[in-house]
Amino acid sequence: MTAPLEEFLRARRAEGRRLLVPYVTAGIAPGWTDVVRAYADAGADAVELGFPFSDPMLDGVTIQEASDRAIAAGATVRGILREVAALDVAVPLVAMTYSNLVFQRSGAEFCAELRASGVGGLIVPDLPLEEVGELADAAAAEGVDLVLLAAPSSSRARLREVAERSRGFVYALTRMGTTGERGEVPEAAARLGRDLKELTDRPVLFGFGVSNPAQAADLAGHADGVVVASALMRRLLDGAGAGELGEYVASIRRVLDQGARWAVHPATAPSPTT
């Protein structure tokens, strides 16, 4: 059993560390839990576990393919949770899945099962503020941090409410669009990061389109850290194993740490890599 998500992330941030949350589609292949361990060993601050859904509305082609593969391989919520319960990693685990899986029985039951398996956070991308009430109460009762999303299109009033009601961290979308690797960091992301940091001292992490270490560092500079998903899943789909994925996470970790040192000690910082 790991520490509660938000407490853990806040403690890490207090050390001057940029937060890194890599993602894996749970059940994508036998031994997928090795990927979680590899991430943790490579310096992840939490690991996001995607519970595959047949109709992932907010995911681009890479995560769609990963989800289809996991479902075809027989992945189920219960099966995944059994494997997760047997995992012993030193960082918090965050589940990411869609409303239909969460509300199969009830939000309360889903959160209880997460908690029992040692999962400390939950992200439901198709559950906006309007619909989040019941699940937010259930998650709080179970001690699961329900992470809410903020978008470049969100009004200031909505950002404030997201920042207040989110637990664990605030998941800031870098762009209007789906998950997937993209070229440059949009201006909208920098603005969103700035707005959220003004509104809350809860950790703010960017996700969607974080494609390489340099970009991760750039984005992390506008908030507290990043979630990296498609860049890892594309490598996995192309045949990369846990070791290789861990090395890639470690490479992001190194660049983030340089960025963090630069931010904390500008006078002694190495030149930022490009």
């Binding site: 995911d59 189920t76 509300f103 991308p125 906006p128 999303l149 978008a151």
Partner: protein, 403 residues
């Protein structure tokens, strides 16, 4: 349409609010809502506000009525099925949506939404399509109003509905093949939503049925209620008692049925929705969340959404509009199923007794009427108003082997 008489309306024993405005939360009982990513919330708010304003604006209503009349060919007739009625021992009246421009009820909704998009200053319509009927209707309305159209269609449906793809191309629409998931309608919906998220500033998502996040299920029902409103007035004139005993429509997502039921929900008419056996979410579905709304959904024990299968591509949708789920739970409407064989027999029957070739989708409603009249479930002497949602020309090739 001019002033019409409402004579013959009988006493009503129903909640006054049945099929009314679902309010800001977009709830129909426990169904509906707005289960979309935060990124799409402002767009949903914008569309809801624009629709509320337009729907109250006599100028907008006037433009819509004019287009429905001089362009889409409304009002559509209510045709007695003379010979089939005699054979079945009932009075069967057909609401002829097959006679509209583009050949199905889909035009009612797209003309409304395209006008709204135009009023909102959007440049482009996005749409999903299964059989291609909604795609063709959207391409048509886009051409009419000088908008661009991008239509998402499953790769497998593109193969099955080659002619409709060609029609959309000729009308100037871009057809985007969807190659993920089951490569059919539900995946086209996902892809349209994904595209909408990234182009929400200048694009309007023109959803083809009573599904999606609030305000779509309500808005699409309101744009389709012209079917039920016309039919009610026509029934009042045609029937001695004014209101039919049964009002029947086929259901995929449920837009022609929603529009039809809206005109009769506050009458004594029994409302019956007919689903394809292989896509019967109201019959075999469980509560779930798909494509932005909560409703009854065909899904496995773990919550993975199943693919729907029927001979009518337009009914191959694994969910059902949230208002239908609510009408079912409250017992105001009944939902039944028919199989592919009955449907093809019904199609052939109507073609031969009335000289009307119905779409396979509409033939589902007819198949149930025939079965229920023969079994006595619809008692002899009853009056039945059935919406014939579209024409069957598009289906000739696919039923060739079955005839």
């Amino acid at each position: 349409m001019g002033e019409m008489s409402w004579s013959g309306r009988r006493g009503v024993a129903l909640p006054a609010r049945a099929m009314s405005d679902p309010g800001v939360t977009g709830r129909f009982g426990g169904y509906g809502g707005r289960y979309v990513p935060e990124s799409l919330i402002p767009a949903c708010h914008e569309i809801e506000a624009a629709f509320r304003e337009a729907w109250e604006d006599p100028e907008f209503r006037n433009r819509l009525d004019t287009l429905l009349t001089v362009y889409a060919g409304r009002p559509t007739p209510l045709t007695p099925a003379w010979r089939l009625s005699q054979e079945l021992g009932i009075t069967l009246l057909l609401k002829r949506e097959d006679l509209t421009h583009t050949g199905s009820h889909k035009i009612n909704n797209v003309v409304g939404q395209a006008l709204l998009a135009h009023r909102m200053g959007k440049r482009r319509l996005l749409a999903e399509t299964g059989a291609g009927q909604h795609g063709v209707a959207t391409a048509t309305a886009a051409a009419l109003l000088g908008l661009e159209a991008t239509v998402f269609m499953g790769e497998r449906d593109i193969e099955r509905q080659e002619l409709n793809v060609l029609r959309m191309n000729v009308l100037g629409a871009e057809v985007v093949p969807v190659t993920t998931g089951s490569r059919t309608l539900k995946d086209a919906c996902n892809e349209a939503m994904r595209h909408w998220v990234s182009s929400v500033d200048d694009s309007y998502y023109c959803i083809g049925t009573v599904m999606g996040p609030h305000p779509y299920p309500w808005m699409v029902r309101e744009f389709q209620r012209v079917i039920g409103d016309e039919a009610r007035v026509q029934c009042a004139a045609a029937l001695p008692v004014g209101v039919p005993d049964y009002v029947v429509a086929c259901i995929g997502g449920g837009s022609n049925a929603a529009g039809t039921f809206a005109g009769f929900v506050d009458t004594t008419a029994r409302l019956v929705g007919v689903e394809a056996e292989g896509g019967a979410a109201a019959t075999f579905g469980r509560a779930g969340v798909l494509h932005g709304f909560r409703s009854l959904v065909l899904q496995d024990d773990d919550g993975q959404v199943k693919e729907a299968h029927s001979i009518a591509a337009g009914l191959d949708y694994p969910g059902i509009g949230p208002e239908h789920a609510h009408l079912r739970d409250g017992g105001r409407a009944r939902y039944v199923t028919v199989n592919d064989d009955e449907v093809v027999r019904a199609l052939r029957c109507l073609a031969r007794t009335e000289g009307i070739l119905p779409a396979l989708e509409s033939s589902h409603a007819l198949a149930w009427v025939i079965r229920a009249a023969k079994s006595g479930e619809i008692p002899a002497g009853s009056t039945v108003m059935m919406t014939l949602s579209g024409r069957g020309d598009k289906d000739i090739a696919s039923i060739r082997e079955m005839l």
